[in-house]
Amino acid sequence: MKLIRGSCFLICLTALGLALGLTSASVAHAQAAAAAPAAASAAPPTADAELAAAASKAPAVADLAKGDPGGTSTGTISDVPPADSTKGVTVPDVANQVGQNKIAINFVWTLVTGFLVMFMQAGFAMVEAGLCRVKNANHTYMMNFFVYTAGLFSYWLIGFAIQMGGAAGNSNLGGLQSLTGEHTLSLFGKTWGLFGGAGFFLAGHTYDVGVMVLFLFQMVFMDTALTIVTGSCAERWKFLAFCVSSSIMGAITYPLYGNWAWGGGWLSQLGANNQLGHGYCDFAGSGVVHAVGGITALAVCLIIGPRIGKFNRDGSSNPIIGHDISAVLIGCFILAFGWFGFNPGSTLGASAAGNLRIGTIAVDTMLAGCTGTFGAILYMWIKNGKVDASMGGNGLLAGLVAITAPSGFVSPTNACIIGLVAGVLVCLSCAFIENVMKVDDPVGAISVHGTNGLWGVLSVGLFADGTSNYGGSWNGVAGSVTGLFYGDASQLAAQLVGISTLLGFVFTLSFLINLGLEIFVGHRVSIETEIAGLDLPEMGQLGYPEFVFKPEPDVLLQAEKQYAVA
């Protein structure tokens, strides 16, 4: 008899454990509903009796009416809804409530962090507009504003379906079982994911609460990638060309790479299919978001050419100073704040499956931004004898970009190293892109997001310390992500494949799309528009109508005169 009672009790515990997500979480969600009724029929009378006793001890309505200043009487068994009110609260009721609480915590976590990421658009707008001349302020702000709309719409139409249409199985958000439309290719005896196919218009089976949460979170990430390009092409990008280019990027370029890395695509399968570590690992998007944005920015910048007066005949460059350093630095702070949504939010949950690592992720993010700022400021101070404020801001962002991919896998000390390298790297990269490549990037976005995005991807393969545990596996490979310095060289190989894909495929795709747009639409505004500033000709309104503009430096005035005559 004791044995039977013990067995029944074990079944109850197992049902509770499944709902808590103590085992493989996707299984837990698939089985929780079925296991609970079975457990109910087999539950020992003692369990229900204990619940009944707890219910009898719960504060009565009259007690609660007196108020609960200490919070000790609020949130008891009285708040667990019974399936059958005549029986009172049973063990299955408790198990179901625990399961729903887990999902609710994860929903709220993911949504709130997504809201933080959305607010980063304001930071980008301030940074980019502040680094541009006042005659282009309205246009630059407007690009940052409208990219949210253009990107969101195209992502809703098709982008989300391509990226996450085959991403079923995420237990943090309830399984997402309606996202089972990954299109695959069989090659070398293995199956490789290419792009998703479920989630167009968020209609049909994807009209689902979990899918909505995932859509919101992924959408704001996509929009971050799109807004990187607007900074690099500022002060000369025709608004129409920007609109079309951004719509296409949100519909195709970003979602495709996003699928390969995060949506069950072939890069994430490199571990399971090719024994390359845990496959390509990009925790929060150094590659998916920032490198894709930075590399696309480079492609468009090459096509659109430098601003009038940026380069002299001998190839030397002229500094074109932005109009508002206060906007730049406040924008950087807004971005740093939003990054606490970007990285910790990428767990897609705060409950179960190792998600308590969010504390480490947040601290890693903070520290990398700190050392990134140090790296850039100290480098410029030593090199030029002055503290460069705009480069200091870029150093902060570079550190944050670089830690984005490894934030879920590295220690705080390694985060400091990654950030410091990023801070110096952004200065070197800005100089290289301007002086060697002769590419004009007004805000340094190619260096901040492109170069350091690639560094972030690489650093996962070097610094991942094997201590993270997100439900016991990553990308379908058991164990923790471990980099070269901690004993797994194959993870570095997977990361290099990701970098090669960014440079070889994403760049080429972006380049060809925008080259096509150059033929049909034309990226660049006319000489007259560029000289006058884009605010009036493109927007019909100055950003600062009551300001008296200070004349441009002589070198720029001369260049403008030459173009005007030509």
Binding site: F200, L270, G305, A493, F505, T508, F520, G522, S526
Partner: protein, 129 residues
């Protein structure tokens, strides 16, 4: 000429075309889906040709025409690097070999992106004249 009504009209047509095109992809298994796909594609193509028609009216830009071939060669070199990396994964099972081939692929792509393409675009750059 700066931003104008035609641009707004053609962008609207582009967005409507994209929406109908995506609806066609979503409903592709049905006859209506195929029809929507064709109509949507026609809308997108029509909007692009519309912008092409007004492009010459928008004024001269600070860009000089340069050879398209070199631009395409640069893009092809970048793509070639990726192909080398992909084949490298299947060429050797050793991790060291795969890392080496991935590095070769990255170097080839970088050569295309950092040297070939900027050279193609800067050859006739307007700031040189």
């Amino acid at each position: 000429m700066a931003a104008n009504k035609s641009q707004g009209s053609y962008y609207t047509l582009f967005l409507v075309g994209c929406t109908v095109l995506c609806a066609g992809i979503y409903e592709y298994s049905t006859g209506l889906g195929k029809l929507l796909l064709i109509v949507g594609a026609a809308g997108v193509v029509g909007s692009l040709f519309g912008t092409l028609g007004i492009k010459s009216l928008e004024g001269k830009t600070a860009l000089k025409p340069s050879a398209m071939v070199m631009k395409l060669v640069g893009a092809a070199v970048a793509l070639l690097g990726w192909v080398i990396t992909l084949f490298g994964m299947h060429l050797t099972p050793s991790t060291g070999g795969r890392i080496a081939l991935a590095l070769v692929g990255i170097a080839v792509s970088l050569f295309g992106v950092v040297f070939v393409l900027p050279a193609a675009f800067n050859k006739n750059a307007v700031w040189k004249s």
